[in-house]
């Protein structure tokens, strides 16, 4: 139907009918529907057809459907090929005559291929029922708990010294104003006490080998110089430590000691020494005394974990603004980003929840929030919408007014995006009950005058220039994939999009799976999203893993390679080339053996063999040659 707009289907059918070896060809509107499937069955049974070609949409959509039909009709699963005449023909071409000609060629190549396809049986491999979760923020915690509560072991790897992620830094959450730490920490405690969860902090995944059901993961653990089993988190060491350094976790609003934990509810409650700043005075060792939790000789170590599935919950970072480049951020202490304001609002933060500005501790009477800083900004930032900023800015303005009732909040925005349960109402509440003034327009300049920040902006709804003398300016900066995700994606062979977010297998129908089997996505690793969506997606990813673990065996594509021993001279080039160690020299026979369960079917060995001894099942050189000839023909 949507094919027929640019492809003359009757002509394609006519051409197929006259092609060698074809017994039957027919046009059918919805072949993927039940009657369509039954039709295929009927032919196969009545006319003893032994292989079919379906000319329709891309094989990524219905290949499995039609192969299933074929198998149910009593012939081999692989005796069916899809001719992609929609995504790669009718939808991309306008000239009917040329598109029809091309569609005929596509069908003919599929016929040539299926003619030489052999019957194959999927390879069954056992499943390691143990999951790896990368990232210990709320998405990783949720996913790990769901998998562990279903009875499977989980390894949770976190690069920081504590799990909790950004959620632990937040003050309250929109739209219910729950205290973020109060709802997060019970989950952190639950996971730390879970008998089936092993938490590895200060650790990063460096390498992965294997395939779905059977991965070998190399984890690098950096030394924290404290023995996790011994340290009870008493904190006496930090009391005596003489070195004070900026506290990153508190967004540098305060300092910490060179031996520290990020926050009191850290999991594990184990201190860490920052060796870049430690002066090795050993006062901490002294006070720790007989407990001997501190170990200066700890070294970096590598651990190998065997798992069957991997959930990526790598989260986000706030866009890192260059110093002085945006509204004086970095030059002017009272221009801060949203995450810093969260710490100022937080009861556990450096000001104990009192709104005081960083420069002089003054309570700001006028505060300006600027939305979409580097988001939706093709030239200087990222073109996408960071999704959470509209809501957290509304929350910021509301909380500020609760704490400073005689203060005034101004919000510069482009549009308000408040799609979510109770979100729009929340923004309205901020405006109406709390009197936040929303100004639609961009800010052109922020500069210092005395102890005020002068904000020049525009209200596009009234077309007037606006000048506000603010005490504090809060920038809702874009969120970007967390640092190191590109390298991680490279080492795990995962696709990322142009911004560095991990790509899902299908935008609509497979949003929690990666295209690479065995990898699942949760939270901001895939795209910006809020906590509720993150948790939902994490549970979605976990349920995929649980489904995978529910069987004892997995079935692998049998499209592996075979070696014709008579032709193999045992040179071993293919053994070197195979990235999976699936080929091995057999010294007795002087030829190469294929270890089928390890073969992933890339075909690199096939094209490296100068003896033509290696062939790929159902994609042999001969099949490709036949296809080339079809395309070359007029």
């Amino acid at each position: 139907m949507n094919i027929a707009r640019t492809v003359d289907v009757d002509k394609v059918v006519k051409a197929a009918k006259s092609y060698r070896g074809v017994v039957h060809a027919l046009k059918y509107k919805y072949l993927c529907s039940k009657p369509g499937q039954n039709l295929i069955k009927k032919w196969i049974e009545e006319e003893k057809i032994d292989r079919i070609v379906v000319a329709a949409c891309s094989p990524t959509l219905h290949e499995v459907t039609f192969r299933g039909v074929v198998e149910a009709s009593g012939i081999n699963f692989y005796a069916c090929e899809i001719a992609n005449i929609r995504e790669q023909c009718s939808w991309v071409h306008e000239d009917m005559e040329k598109a029809t000609k091309k569609a005929i060629k596509i069908v003919n190549t599929a016929i040539e291929k299926v003619r030489l396809d052999e019957a194959l049986t999927p390879i069954s491999v056992p499943v390691t029922k143990r999951a790896l979760v990368i990232g210990g923020g709320i998405s990783g915690i949720q996913a790990a708990l769901d998998v562990a509560n279903s009875g499977y072991e989980v390894v949770l790897v976190e690069k920081k010294s504590s799990i909790g992620g950004h959620m632990a830094q937040l003050s309250e959450t929109f739209p219910t104003l729950d205290c973020s730490q109060c709802i997060l920490t019970p989950r952190m405690v639950e996971i730390s006490q879970h008998p089936r969860v092993k938490i590895r902090t200060c650790s990063e995944v460096t390498k992965a080998s294997g395939y779905i059901g059977n991965f070998k993961i190399e984890v690098r653990a950096r030394p924290r110089y404290i023995n996790e089993e011994v340290c009870d988190g008493c904190g006496e060491c930090a009391d005596v430590c003489p070195v004070e350094i900026p506290n990153e976790w508190e967004m540098n609003l305060t300092t910490k000691k060179a031996i520290s934990i990020p926050f009191p509810q850290a999991v594990p409650l184990t201190y860490e020494i920052d060796m870049d700043h430690c002066i090795e005075c050993y006062k901490c060792v002294e006070v720790c005394g007989k407990r001997r939790a501190i170990n200066f000789s700890q070294k970096e170590s590598y651990i190998t974990e065997e798992v069957g599935a991997i959930i990526l919950a790598t989260g986000y970072d706030p866009y890192s603004l260059e110093k002085g480049q945006e509204y004086g951020y970095g030059k002017n202490m009272d221009v801060i980003d949203g995450l810093t304001f969260e710490r100022i609002l937080s009861a556990s933060g450096p000001t104990h929840g009192e709104v005081r500005r960083p420069s002089d501790g003054k309570i700001p009477k006028e505060i300006v929030f600027i939305q979409c800083v580097r988001s939706r900004n093709q030239e200087k930032g990222v073109p996408y919408c960071s999704k959470i900023c509209c809501m957290y800015t509304a929350k910021h303005a509301l909380l500020y007014k609760q704490k400073v009732p005689n203060g005034q909040a101004y919000v510069f925005y482009i549009d308000i995006r408040a799609g979510g349960k109770g979100y729009e109402e929340f923004v309205q509440r901020t405006m109406e009950e709390y009197g936040a003034i929303y100004l639609r327009g961009r800010v052109s300049k922020v500069f210092k005058e005395g102890d005020k920040m002068i904000v020049w902006g525009e209200d596009t709804l009234t077309s007037r220039k606006v000048e506000i003398a603010a005490d504090l300016v809060v920038l809702a900066t874009a969120i970007v994939p967390s640092q190191g995700v590109r390298e991680l994606a490279d080492s795990l062979r995962l696709n990322i999009d142009e911004y560095g977010f991990l790509s899902e297998a299908h935008a609509k129908l497979r949003p929690v799976e990666s295209l690479t089997a065995g990898y699942y996505l949760a939270g901001c690793a895939q795209a910006p999203r809020d906590i509720a969506e993150t948790v939902a997606q994490a549970s979605g990813a976990a349920s995929k893993v649980i489904a995978l673990f529910s069987g004892d065996f997995l079935y692998k594509e049998p499209t592996t390679v075979t070696i014709e021993e008579g032709l193999c001279m045992g040179c071993g080039v293919c053994v070197e080339i195979c990235p999976y160690d699936a080929l091995a020299l057999n010294p007795e026979k002087g030829t190469v053996d294929v270890i089928e369960v390890l073969c992933e079917g890339c075909g690199a060995c096939v094209s490296s063999c100068i003896c033509r001894a290696i062939q790929m099942k159902n994609l042999t050189d001969r099949q490709i040659f036949e296809m080339i000839e079809v395309i070359g023909r007029n």
Partner: protein, 147 residues
């Protein structure tokens, strides 16, 4: 016949695209679902990885009268099979010199990196390759009686 074909303004070169199924084939599908229009010059053969592509396939294509060959796979560093695209790239650079030695303009053999999310790029790659090969005219090297 071939001469006439070339003279007509809408002579469309015949191009074979060898696309890896993880990145470029999916990118070509995305170009389709995004309804991006490009010339019908290309016919695609789906391979698991660009490293599956033997030099023979390319030579065979030219011998069959194909005017251009386009190899397309995952971006460097994001090969589904660890490093197959690097193997393909090395093979490609040698092969380009070989076909030049055989008397085929090396521009007839092209290679691109198109990921599964780059529907736009795919459409663009085909448009450009088609234009470049259209300028070169039909591949006559293997036609009897012509030298």
């Amino acid at each position: 016949m071939r001469k006439k074909e070339f003279d007509s303004i809408d002579w469309e070169p015949k191009i074979i695209g060898f696309l890896c199924k993880w990145c470029s084939y999916a990118g070509a599908d995305l170009a389709g679902s995004s309804r991006l229009i490009y010339p019908p010059s290309i016919n695609i053969i789906r391979v698991p990885c660009t490293s599956r592509i033997k030099p023979h396939f390319v030579v065979k294509a030219f011998a069959t009268g194909i005017d251009g060959v386009l190899i397309s796979g995952c971006h460097p560093g994001s090969c589904h099979y660890v490093n197959g695209n690097y193997k393909a790239r090395r093979r490609f650079s040698v092969l380009r010199r070989l076909i030049e030695f055989m008397g085929i303009d090396p521009r007839r053999l092209q290679m691109s990196w198109v990921s599964a999310s780059e529907g736009f790029k795919w459409a663009d790659v085909v448009r450009k390759a088609t234009e470049e090969i259209r300028q070169l005219g039909p591949n006559r090297l293997f036609i009897e009686g012509e030298t």
